[in-house]
Structure formats: structure tokens, C-alpha cells
Amino acid sequence: MQAEDSNPPDGGYGWVVVVSAFMVMGLTVAVLKTFGLFFVEIQQHFDGLASTTSWITSVTIAIFHLGAPVASSLCARYTHRAVVITGGLLAFSGMALGFFGFNMVWMYVTTGFLQGLGISFSWTPAISIVSHYFSKKRALANAIASAGECAFAFTFGPFFQWLISQYGWKGALLIIGGIQLNICIGGALMRPLASSCLLEAHHSETRTPPGKSASRIDKEDKSPITHKTFNWMLLKRPEFVLYAIFGILAAMSFFVPPLFLVPFSYSLGIDESWTASLLSILAMVDFAGRLLCGWYANLHVTKTIHLLVMTITLISTSLMLLPLANNYVSLAIFTGFYGFFFGTTVAIHITVLADVVGMPEFDSALGLFMLIRSSGGFVGPPLAGLIVDMAGDYRAGFYMAGATLILSAGFLVTLDQLQQRKERESQTSTKPEKSTLSYPSLHLLKH
């Protein structure tokens, strides 16, 4: 029952939306990833500690996650386009005002808070609108859009370094702010769909659905309410809760390997330039992984959730094997595997969320999911740091990340079993009641 997104274009203008989402993701997440280059410059200029300087990025990441549900609910009210353009303006102002660099607190507010809010308001609707525009080709579309992050990150590394060497860190921030203003172009291209949530909220009050099942009426009564606030009703659904727990555990693991890869590489005696090449390898295979996974998922040969379980298992295998590396070549190979499967996982996990909760509640689910997942992101790195300190070896961090992922895969398998059981139960009744069923039932027909 996908009446709300009655005819997702599944192509046509949808590809324009994919390209603009590609751009928005690149201009948000890739900037955040490469911000580390400014770290030393800012620390030296304000004569601060490494820890106080790193709070800038912590604030950005925190606001990014906390802002995601806010952005989702704003999307429903004001269209994705408006929120993305607002996000672009916020991110631009954050970086451009950072140029003035009066003191450290100023940097927290500008490059931390404003930038985080801007990234959040741009990224969340961009991801969401791609899912709205596609149904059968959703996996491929999401994968292409998310590949933007890798493509831009790959070029931003050397580009930001060049900017800093030409204009100093302050001038570089100003110019990067201007570059981020291009997010607004992506936003302008994100035409709202005719069957968007906004229209649905109006229709539900006037229309009396003839001959539709009782659950449909319930949903319509609820829809004006769900769009205005956080959709805490989602927490009552076991599928969402299981997926959210998966998200927390996965987030705990995701931020750890990039953190420890560089120090681990140095501890093996690999020098700076070769280590930097490892990061480039990571970005390239990540990109390839995302595109390949999107194409494969699009073939609809495997159920997306099964695909996700496979990719998670493969990442954790790569992570468990990575500590075996003892020189550059072996480390590069394992890093390549890790990056590739990381890409495949990221490409597919949003599509799986859409499959789990269904399109009508996708926007609020996305926001809530990001918020819940962020707790894992905050706990993961410090916990991993603690484990590494206790073990006295960076390898322990990789083992921890691998183990957490295997645990998260367990929740995915439980979720899949639950979904399959519900499908079997509803297959006995004549009408499908939940919108989630129409998509997986397509898979059942093909098996």
C-alpha cells in the first residue's frame, strides 16, 4: 500500500534528485571528514590543548545527530527543498564566520554548532528525498547518492591542504564556506513530489476513505500528529526497535577503525605518506563498494536485509583479520576489504530502514534512527580507546569493532525472522495491512 507515494517516478527527474543528493552529501559529510586538516592550525593559533580543539568536531557531530530528527519533522512541514536550502545557508555561515576566528568559543559556535546544524539540515532531507523518489530502484539511487561522500572526500584532502597553504586556515574556511553554499543549488533542484507528506496531511482531514480497512483510517487520523512532533510511536514497533539497536551497535563500531588505522599504521613502522595513501585507498574502495552494492541490490536477487547481514559479516571478518597485518601491503589489502564492505553497508542501510518502516513514516523514522544511532557513535570511540589503553595495542580496537558488528548482525537476523513470521501470518489473511508488506512480498514472489 504505497498510496502515499503513489507513483514514485523511479527515474526521470528522480535522477536529477540523485545527482543533487550526491552533491549535498559530498559538500556536507566530506567537509566534516576532512576538517581534521584544520586541527593543528587552529590549535597552534589559539594555543589550545589537543582535547579542547577536538571539541569543535565533537560539537559538529553531536549537533549533526541531534538535528537530524528536527530536520525530518521540518521536512514534512516545509518540504525537503526548503530545509536543504536552510541547511546550506547555515553551513555556509558557520564556515564563513569561522574566518573571523576571535577565540576558541567563537570556533565552537561557528565551525561547531552552525556547521553541524547546517550539515544536519542538508544531509537528512537529501537522503530522505531520494528514497521518496524511488521504489524499485531505491537501492541503486541511495547507493549513488551516498557515493558522493567518498568522491568529494577523496578530492577534498589535497584540495583543503592547498587552500590552507595559499590562504591560511582563516581564508580557507571562508572559501570552503562559499563552496558549501552550493548545497543550496542541490536543494533548489529537489522538487517536492506531488504526493508528499504535506499534501497527505491536508487530504486526511477532508477525505473519508470508502471501503478501506480500519488500519488505514487510524493512520490518517494519526498523520497530522506524527508530522508535527517526533514520531515516538515508532518505538512501539518491534521492527524499528530492533533496527535501532542494530544501528547503535553498528555506530559503535563504525567510527573506530578510521580512528585507529593511522596510529596502527605508524606503529607498524609505515611512514606518513604511505599512511595517507591508505586513507585514499579507503575512500576509493568505499566509493566502489557503494556503487557495486547499489547495482547488486537493484537486481532484487537478494532481500536487502539479507544483503545487509552479509555485508556486516564481511566487514567484521575484515576487521578481525586486519590485526594480522604486519607490513604495508597486508595492511593495504585488509584496509581495502574493510573499506569496500563498509561502502556496501552504508549504501544499503538506509534502504533497509525504508523497508523496515515503510515510506509514510520514513522521514520521521530517519530522524529518530539517526538520533538513537548517535549514542553508539558517542560511546564507541572512547570505549575503544579504553580497550586499546588496557590492552596496550591498537589491534584490540579492531577486534572490538569486529565483535560489536557481529553482535549487531544478530539483531538484524532477529529482525528478519520477525518480519518473515509476520509475512507468513498475514499471507493467511486476504488483505495486506501494512505498507511494509508490498515490497517484501515482491521478493517472495521471485524466490
Binding site: D47, G168, G171, G178, L181
Partner: protein
């Protein structure tokens, strides 16, 4: 080869040890500084050592032990004052902004002095003469910081910090570049203009195609 960093007056013992598997015959080992031979203070089974009392910079430099056997093997110890760590890349700042330069050392120097190059002459930065322009602070025993306020184009150039130890001086050069605000502003304005033009075009195109549709 080995580098040894010394800051204060001290006694140093340098020893050369022969791998027991190497020579069976009677090896001849001499310690030399440049061309001057130094007699060893102690000789053990397969090692030859010299003891040096170092009070001032005249005793610093390179000392080598030379083994004459079938071939001549040489091991060199290089005694020097502690090296100073500072930023290697040029510091880029803007007019009316503040520049910050920091020098760090492994050991505590007796004094730190900052110099700048004016024309071809080094000039000591005397902060009492220009209190509202230069601020020198000793952040800790091993770290010094120079702050230059209200930068102008003329402030650009080479600066260096000098640390004076009991056993000599050590210095590190840094380059300061001062840009005008217009430098980053030009690309910035160009990009903002590009965005405004594209967004307007997109919105106008959409309005136009909607009207055509109706």
C-alpha cells in the same frame, strides 16, 4: 652514527664495542676529533671508551672511533645543543590580524630571544620598545611564544627564535606571510555569485515550466 643532544655542562662517556665474532686479530682502535687523536681513558675486553668533560661549546662536535683491521671502520658520535622545534610551513596571516609563533625545545635554555629580519639586518625584538605590537611570553621552561599584533604587509618576512644554553646557541627560522583580506575574498565572492545565479536560474526555470504546464 649517533646524535647526542646536550644542554648543560656535563661529563660524557663514549664507547665503541666490537662485535666478538668480527675480528680475531689484534685490532687497533683510535679515537679522533677531526684530525686530533684522543687517547682512550678505559679499555675493556672488546670496547674502547673515552671520557669527555664538556663545559662550553668548544668541546662540542663530532667524535669518531676508528678501527684499523682489514678495512677501516668508523663510528661517529655527534654532540650538539638541543634542536628547536617550530612550525616548518610558512605562517599565513591577514592584515590587522594577530600572528602567533611558538618555539619548543627538549631542554630548558637559559634565555630565549626573538629576532626578525629587516632588510638584510637581523633585529632583536625588544618588546618593551613596542608593547602594543610584540608580545613575548614564556609559556613554560621549554616553550616560548611570540605574538605580533596589528599586522601590516611590512611585517612579512623571516623571524627566528634563539635559545641560549650553557653549551651553545640553537635557533630556528620561520616565515611569516601577510595577505590582504581581498585575497580569499575574491574567490569567495565569485563562488557566492555563481550560487546565486544558478539558484535563480533553477527557480525561474521551474516557475516558467509550471506556467507552461498550466
Amino acid at each position: 652514527e649517533r646524535n647526542i643532544s646536550l644542554a648543560n655542562a656535563t661529563t660524557v662517556e663514549l664507547s665503541c664495542k666490537l662485535d666478538p665474532n668480527f675480528h680475531l686479530r689484534n685490532p687497533q682502535v683510535t679515537w679522533k676529533r677531526g684530525n686530533e687523536t684522543i687517547s682512550h681513558t678505559t679499555k675493556a675486553e672488546n670496547s674502547w671508551s673515552i671520557k669527555l668533560v664538556i663545559v662550553d661549546s668548544s668541546k662540542m662536535g663530532s667524535y669518531s672511533c676508528i678501527v684499523k683491521g682489514d678495512e677501516e671502520i668508523r663510528a661517529t658520535f655527534y654532540l650538539h645543543v638541543p634542536k628547536i622545534e617550530a612550525r616548518e610551513k610558512p605562517i599565513i596571516t591577514y592584515e590587522k590580524d594577530t600572528a602567533v609563533m611558538v618555539c619548543k625545545s627538549d631542554s630548558t635554555p637559559m634565555t630565549w630571544t626573538w629576532y626578525m629580519m629587516r632588510g638584510n639586518n637581523p633585529v632583536i625584538i625588544n618588546e618593551s620598545l613596542w608593547t602594543d605590537k610584540y608580545l613575548i611570553s614564556r609559556l613554560s621552561a621549554n616553550v616560548t611564544r611570540l605574538r605580533i599584533l596589528k599586522l601590516t604587509k611590512e611585517d612579512a618576512g623571516v623571524y627566528w627564535c634563539e635559545a641560549v644554553f650553557q653549551l651553545g646557541e640553537s635557533e630556528r627560522k620561520m616565515e611569516l606571510k601577510v595577505l590582504s583580506i581581498m585575497a580569499p575574498l575574491k574567490p569567495f565572492i565569485a563562488i557566492v555569485a555563481e550560487v546565486i545565479i544558478l539558484v535563480t536560474t533553477i527557480i525561474l526555470y521551474e516557475v516558467y515550466s509550471k506556467r507552461k504546464g498550466k
